[in-house]
Subunit: 244 residues, 2 copies
């Protein structure tokens, strides 16, 4: 019996944002692996084994998923949002590179609505012009790289989506990021804090970057810094198509 | 009677990638507006008026949608992919800015799976690390801005998703973009051409940037240029989580 491995994105939170493709994959799975908070979003049913694990266990989880698939199970690894954006897909391919004997395993990546798209939708259209996405977690890259990218993104006048701005283990990075962007000439730029977007705890706040405070972000927040042409009209914010 | 305006993303092509939220909005619509090729993806039914229009009519279409909503219709404006990424949401807010009397109209933006996420999923995980998205259409911005952003994106070592690389009205821009990226030191970078992704005409090709040719892209192609750390394993390509 041949198993399979599917890496699926659950979207930002609301079940109405899970694609039918992902729902079908979950209905056919024998095993679901992922960070506990995401596995909890998958309903239990007979014949389905749930394998929740801790955050930061990505590579180990990916190896376990490959092993189960090689044993003939139909495995789904779940991520929040899109699995290819700062999530499990890269970890699975890293594990696959370490296990050459498994390279013929049937693997699929199923895309999802990543947090910045849901956050942008709630705010209006701040990503309607060229933009970038930067993960502020420095667990896996040096802060010098993050700082360089923030400065170049400001110079390029990209709208900037900031993933993982702040966690209890990294309380200071986001404050530095705000300082760097202000120093790079972004003080006037409209900044959006989208917390727990599409969930009952959703909260959207907007202000010029100079008024943004680090404590406005937590682990569930996606931050978007608009480009220099971004406009506010009433409760909406958008990047004009004819920007800069 | 109060109308409403919903700006919805249909995803990259496969109906299994349309979110239930968008399907519900389409089921409740009285009017659907959009570029003809996207409106054609919405099934006709009794009580639903379809308003297909030409490409490049974005602002006029947005104004018409606002007008219909103000008349009490339940209007859905459809985009391919995500409506907030190089699509109709920005045009609607631009039209709204021009019509202050309509600012209290109920408006919603419903996110979707944008092309780069579907393309990345087919290829593996090339957007697993920091990345940017650049629209190569120069209808709405000067080429100097595009060139500057490409150079800064290369310097920042972002993976680069290129939307609208080439059309019959703009045959040369993509060739210039490839030259700029090669000149900026990206010749070795893995480059992915994802054509008509998730449709029956899908075709995925990968090669080092130096071997990429402008004619490999057409209007339905999304191009991803990997970052400098991007790796290929068998048929997969991914950006390591510990990049550069």
């Amino acid at each position: 019996m041949t198993g399979s491995l599917t890496i699926a994105g659950l979207g930002p939170g609301d079940t109405a944002l899970i694609t039918p493709e992902v729902s079908t994959a979950l209905a056919e799975a024998t095993d679901v692996l992922g960070y506990a908070a995401y596995v909890a979003r998958v309903g239990p049913r007979e014949g389905l084994r749930l394998h929740p694990s801790d955050n930061r266990m990505e590579l180990q989880r990916a190896g376990e998923a490959l092993k189960l698939a090689a044993e003939g199970r139909n495995v789904v690894v779940v991520s929040s949002g899109d699995p290819g954006v700062f999530a499990m897909a890269a970890a699975v391919f890293e594990a696959l590179e370490n296990s050459p004997e498994l390279r013929d395993l049937p693997i699929r990546v199923l895309p999802g609505v990543t947090a910045m798209l849901a956050a942008a939708a709630r705010a209006g259209a701040p990503l309607g012009h060229d933009f970038c996405a930067i993960n502020l977690s420095d667990n896996l890259k040096p802060w010098t790289v993050i700082e360089k990218r923030l400065r170049l993104a400001a110079e390029a006048d990209f709208a900037i989506a900031i993933y993982n701005p702040r966690s209890t283990s990294r309380p200071d990075g986001f404050a530095r990021a705000l300082d760097i962007l202000e120093d790079a000439g972004c003080a006037d730029r409209t900044t959006i804090f989208a917390r727990a977007v599409t969930t009952p705890k959703e909260r959207i706040e907007m202000m010029p970057l100079r008024d943004a405070r680090p404590e406005m972000a937590d682990m569930t927040t996606l931050v978007i810094v608009g480009n220099s042409a971004t406009r506010r009209i009433g409760r909406w914010v958008y990047a004009p198509r004819r920007a800069s």
